[in-house]
């Protein structure tokens, strides 16, 4: 953990967000901030509203109340396209890869906002479109190297094992060179070795690419090791907010979630 970037001012501010689906309340008056370059974990029992919180941040859900400010711009409703343009990328709990495409193509879609050539130029594939395609191919190959998935780059993602698919999804998010990376249970369903690999990748992303990371995770060991600060949700409310050590000792958190100390 040497050479960590300096944690800066808040880059994301969630203010008093409330979200409900019909009669079901997902979030109630949640507020917290995320500082630049930090790794922030969101934890809580199942159904606490963690995924909903991520969905609100990148615009997939619209909260009934409250707002989210990213890089100083405050919004209540933003659509996912705008969020992507602003520099937010994410992964999903139930892998949201494009099954019909290869790993390489999936990662290339992550670069789409940076590609400017129009359809006619692409159809001709001479000069400008060609060099743009090759330029972004190089960037994507850097991500492929980083995640060590060269051997499957042409495989359709639907055929990959679960652990590799999760890595590819991370790759697609990284290909966008995001400022804020939202990871929804990146280690779900992984064994110990895969978790170690994924943890290493996440730390490296934070170190080398300087991305701010918000991650939802159930494995307490991972959360304590990786994160700088933690937010704890329970039944849609925030019940604790602080460093991993502070949160671990918080009696409300223990009641709601950790149960017996191990």
């Amino acid at each position: 953990m040497t050479g960590r970037r300096e944690i800066g001012a808040p880059i994301l501010e969630v203010e008093d967000v409330s979200l409900a689906f019909g009669g079901v309340v997902a979030l109630q008056g949640v507020s917290f901030d995320v500082r630049e370059h930090e790794i922030r974990a969101i934890i809580g029992p199942n159904g606490a509203g963690k995924s909903s919180m991520l969905n609100v941040i990148n615009g997939v859900y619209r909260p009934q109340r409250g707002s989210v400010a990213f890089k100083g711009r405050r919004h209540r409703k933003v659509d996912p396209y705008e969020a992507a343009k602003a520099g937010i990328a994410r992964t999903f709990q139930n892998i949201a890869l494009f099954r019909g495409m290869s790993v390489l193509d999936n990662l290339m879609t992550g670069r789409c906002l940076k590609m400017r050539r129009n359809v006619l130029e692409q159809a001709l594939y001479l000069g400008p479109a060609r060099s743009e395609e090759l330029e972004h191919r190089e960037k994507v190959e850097a991500v492929i190297d980083f995640l060590e998935i060269q051997h499957v780059r042409r495989t359709p993602v639907g055929r990959l094992p679960y652990g590799l698919q999760k890595r590819v999804e991370l790759g697609r998010a990284l290909a966008a060179e995001p400022d804020l990376l939202l990871l929804d249970e990146p280690m779900a369903g992984m064994n110990l070795e895969e978790k170690q690999d994924m943890s290493r990748f996440i730390l490296d992303v934070n170190d080398q690419m300087g991305a701010t990371i918000v991650l939802i995770e159930h494995d307490m060991g991972v959360v304590m090791d990786l994160s700088d600060r933690v937010v704890v949700l329970d039944y849609g409310r925030k019940i604790a907010d602080g460093t991993p050590e502070e949160v671990r000792k918080n009696p409300r958190v223990i009641d709601a979630y950790l149960g017996v100390a191990h």
Binding site: F21, N55, V60, Y61, F92
Partner: protein, 297 residues
């Protein structure tokens, strides 16, 4: 004013026929989530088979009975050859498979019975009802009235079947949730065969009525297409919706043709129902009686 009523009632009665076709679709969609494009072909095949047996000398009731048996066999074959191999595929794949099925049935029907237009005589005259004509001046044919009566009877029969019998309950369970139905021991395959046989029966009734009206011809196949706007308006899963949707489509089609048609050269019946359906889809995609779906990410 009287003219308006005549057109309206004419449209409603035509709509009853559409409802019958839509009914077949709803049955299959309710139980298996498949939009059966081949329903129109089934109507054609059922009618043609009946007429074929009649022309071989069988009395009408026997011919219809034989045709029903043939439709049952068709249902069995369809479940085995089309539905089972495609069991987990997305809706759109199953829809395309039923397009293939419809072509297959059309080919077999014409191969077996020839491609000529056949007349079908059910013994009900297509004449105006004198009593009604004399008292109200309205021109409504006996045939239409009988057809409406049969449709009403069929709907009642199906409603009773769905709501009061064990099999009907199983059908509703399968329509709701395949996995849960399997979990309580309902055999999906058996249910599907039953549903397709029922749809075959509805197709036979529809085919006989339409065939008596318009002659048994290949164009019957394209009834499937007319059913689409009916289902969109009424909702894909609702029997009531099929009836109401059919009536609305029938009535609006005729009224549009009579009142808007002359201004644009006529013939708007060919596309008016689809544009109507399109408008509906944009405003209320689940139809008047359908269920709202909420997708979770």
């Amino acid at each position: 004013m009287q003219f308006f009523f005549e057109v309206l009632i004419g449209g409603l009665l035509a709509g009853v026929m559409y409802s019958l076709v839509a009914l077949g679709f709803v049955l299959i969609y309710k139980a298996s989530g498949v939009f059966n494009f081949a329903q129109g072909s089934m109507v054609f095949f059922a009618a043609l088979t009946t007429v074929g047996f009649v022309s071989m000398g069988a009395p009408l009731w026997a011919a219809a009975g034989l045709a029903l048996a043939v439709m049952a066999l068709l249902a069995l074959a369809t479940e085995r050859v089309v539905l089972r191999p495609l069991v987990n595929q997305p809706q759109i794949t199953l829809f395309m498979a039923t397009i293939g099925l419809s072509f297959f049935i059309d080919g077999v029907a014409q191969l077996a019975w020839g491609a000529n237009v056949r007349a079908l005589d059910l013994g009900i005259a297509d004449e105006p009802i004198d009593w009604l004509m004399d008292h109200t001046g309205l021109n409504i044919s006996k045939f239409d009235l009988v057809a409406s009566g049969i449709a009403a009877g069929l709907v009642t029969l199906l409603a009773v079947f769905f709501n009061r019998t064990r099999t009907g309950r199983a059908l509703r369970a399968v329509a709701d949730d395949h996995q849960a139905a399997l979990a309580v021991g309902i055999s999906l395959q058996r249910i599907w065969v039953i549903v397709w046989m029922t749809a075959g029966f509805v197709a036979l009734v529809t085919g006989l009525l339409w065939g008596a009206r318009n002659g048994v011809q290949f164009a019957l196949t394209f009834l499937a297409l007319k059913a689409l706007p009916v289902l969109i308006l009424g909702g894909f899963e609702s029997i009531t919706g099929a009836i109401v949707g059919g009536l609305i489509v029938g009535a609006s089609e005729k009224l549009a043709e009579v009142y808007i048609g002359p201004h644009v050269g006529g013939g708007i019946e060919s596309w008016f129902p689809y544009v109507l359906a399109l408008a509906f889809l944009l405003v209320r995609p689940e139809g008047l009686f359908g269920e709202r779906r909420i997708d979770r990410v």
